[in-house]
C-alpha cells in the first residue's frame, strides 16, 4: 500500500482550522487513508475529531497510508502538511 512520511510544518500545529482543511480533503478523495504520529496507532485521516484529538504539533513526524491508487491524493496531503496552513484562505 502506498505510504508517505512527512513533518508537520504549520507553526501552530494541526488545530481546528488546518485539521478541517486536511480532513475535508482526505474525505473528499474517497480513498481510505490513515495518519499516524511516529510510533503511534494510525487513525482515520478523514475524521476531524480524531485528527484534532491527535494534537499534532509543529515538527511532529507523521506517516500517511492509503489504499491502492491513492498515490496522488497522498502527495497532495503531504504537500498540505508541509505548507503553512494558517495562511491558506478559508
Amino acid at each position: 500500500m502506498p505510504q508517505r512520511q512527512t513533518t508537520i510544518a504549520n507553526l501552530t500545529g494541526l488545530h481546528a482550522r488546518p485539521a478541517a482543511l486536511f480532513a475535508k480533503k482526505a474525505a473528499a478523495s474517497g480513498h481510505a487513508i490513515t495518519i499516524a504520529r511516529a510510533g503511534e496507532a494510525p487513525i482515520d485521516a478523514s475524521s476531524i475529531l480524531m485528527i484534532m484529538g491527535l494534537g499534532l504539533s509543529h515538527g511532529d513526524d507523521v506517516t500517511l497510508v492509503g489504499d491502492d491508487g491513492s498515490d496522488q491524493i497522498l502527495d497532495e496531503l503531504v504537500e498540505m502538511l508541509e505548507s503553512d496552513l494558517d495562511s491558506v484562505p478559508a
Partner: protein, 560 residues
Amino acid sequence: MSALTESLILDGVGVGRGCAVAPVAFVRLAPEAPADEPSPADPDAAVAATQEAFSQVSASLQARADSAEGNLAEVLQATALMAGDASLHADVEKRIREGAGPATAVTAAVAAFAAMFEAAGGYLAERVTDLNSVRDRVVARLLGAEEPGLALTERSIVAALDLSPADTAALDLDLVAGIVTELGGPTGHTAIIAGQLGIPCLVRVAGLSDVPAGTEVAVDAAAGRVITAPPADLKEEFARRAEREAALAGDTEPGATRDGRAVQLLANIGTPADAVRAVAAHAEGVGLFRTEVLFLDATEAPSEEAQSAAYRDAVEALGGRKLVVRTLDAGADKPLAFATQPDEENPALGVRGFRLTRILPELVQTQLDALGTVADESVWAMAPMIATPAEARDFASRAREAGIGTVGVMVEVPAAALRAEAILREVDFVSLGTNDLAQYTMATDRLRGELADLLDLWQPAVLELVRSTAQAGRRLDKPVGVCGESASDPLMALVLVGLGITSLSMSPGALPAVRFAVRQHTVAQCEAIALAALSQDEAGAAREAALALVNADVRDALGL
C-alpha cells in the same frame, strides 16, 4: 401576566452601574437525553435517524458558515465538519447497537471525544464548546425539540446559564435591556461586551433559573441585584436613576478634582470606529487601544501597511487627543491563529504579550514600525506583560527606534508593581491593568466565576500594588494611569486618584459617573478615602470604608 406577584431579590455580581426594568427572556436551554431513554426497538431505524439528524445539523452549520465571515465562519465550518464526522457517527452507531437510546448514544459519544479534547488541554479544550453545541443541536432534533438559542421580539432582560461568544453575537442588541447570567465571571466575555455597549449586566446570579419566563424583573448592576416583579415605587426610582445618569452625561469638561487637580479621563477602544465613539462620549483621549482586536479575525499577521492604515484612522478620529496604543497582547484568553502557542499548559503564565518577542520578534517589530509611520506627539505606545526593568528597556529602545516619542509599559505583573521605580526609570509612563494585576496577585484565573470574590478589585493586596506604583510615578514625576476595570467604578476612581493615579481609562459608558464623582471631591478627600480602603483587611470592608467617606450627594446621585 404572571402569577408571580411576590417580589424576590436575587444577588449577583454587577458589571458596570446601569439599571433596567423589562420582562425576562431565557436563552433556550439545550434539551438533554432523558435519563430513562429506552433501548430502540428497531436499532437500524435509530441509527438512520441519528445519521439524518447529524446530516441536517452539519448542513445548517455549513449554511451559517457560508454566510458568516472571518473567524466566526472558520469556527462554524469546523463545527459543521465535526457534525459530519464518520468516527463520531461510528461511535454513536456502536452505542445504539449495544442498546443505548439514540439521544443517550449521541451524548455519550460526544462526551468521549470531549474528554479526549479536555485531556489535551489548551486550545483543544476550548473546542469542547463547539463539540457540545453539535450534541445539543442533534439531541434537540432527535427529541423533536426546538434548537437552543433565543430570538427576541420585545425589549427584554436576557437570562441564561452562561452566554458563549456565539450566543452573544446572535442577539439583537437593540432589544437587549439587560443581561443576567447564572454562571460566568465579571471579567468574562459577556461582561466585557455588556460593559462596552453600556448594557446593565449581572453575572453569578443564583436562583435565576427559577424565575418564570416573561416575569418583569429589575436589574441593578450597581447594587448587584435582580428584583423580580418589582413594586411600582422601585420602578419609578429606577426610571429616575436612568434620568440622573443622562443628566450626568451633560458635564463634558476635562476631568479634575474639586480643587482643580487634573485627572485625565480616557476611553478604552478596540477599533478605529471605537475612537469615534470615544470622542462622542467626551473622552480626553484613548488610554488603551487594544490592538489585538485588529488581528482577531486574521489568519496571519496584518501587514505593516494594513496596520498603519488602522492606526492612522484612529489618530485622525481623535484629532490630536492622546492615543495610547498597547502592542499585541495575544495569548492566554486572546488566542490568535498566527501567534498562539499550542502546547502551553498554563497560557496565562506563558508566552503572551511582550514575551512573544522571544519567539516571534517580527510581530512586535512590524507593529512598532507601522505605528512609527503615523506617530506624532499625541501617540504613545506601551507593551503588555512586562515583568522586569530589562524588558521595559528592551521595549523602550525598540519603540523609540521606530520613531515613537512617548513609550511606556503596562503594570499587570506583580513583579513590575513591586519594582515600579526601576521600571519607570526605563520608560516615560506606566499604565496599570488592574484585571490582570488582580489575577496574578491573587493567583486566580479570570475565567473562573466561582472565584470572583478573590478577583475583587477591592482586594487590599491589589490596592497596595497600585499605591506603590503610583508613588514611584510621583517620585520620578512620570504619569501612572489605570486602564483596567477599576477605573470605571466611580468609587474606586476616587481611591485611585487618592493613591496618586494621573489618568483613568475606561469604557466610554462609564465616563459620566466617574467624571462627576471626581469633580465633587478634593485631592485631600480622595487621599482620605484611599487610606480608609487600604487600612482594611478584606475587599468588602475596604469598599465600605471608602464609601463611608464619600460626599452624600454623590452617593445618592450614583446610587452607591
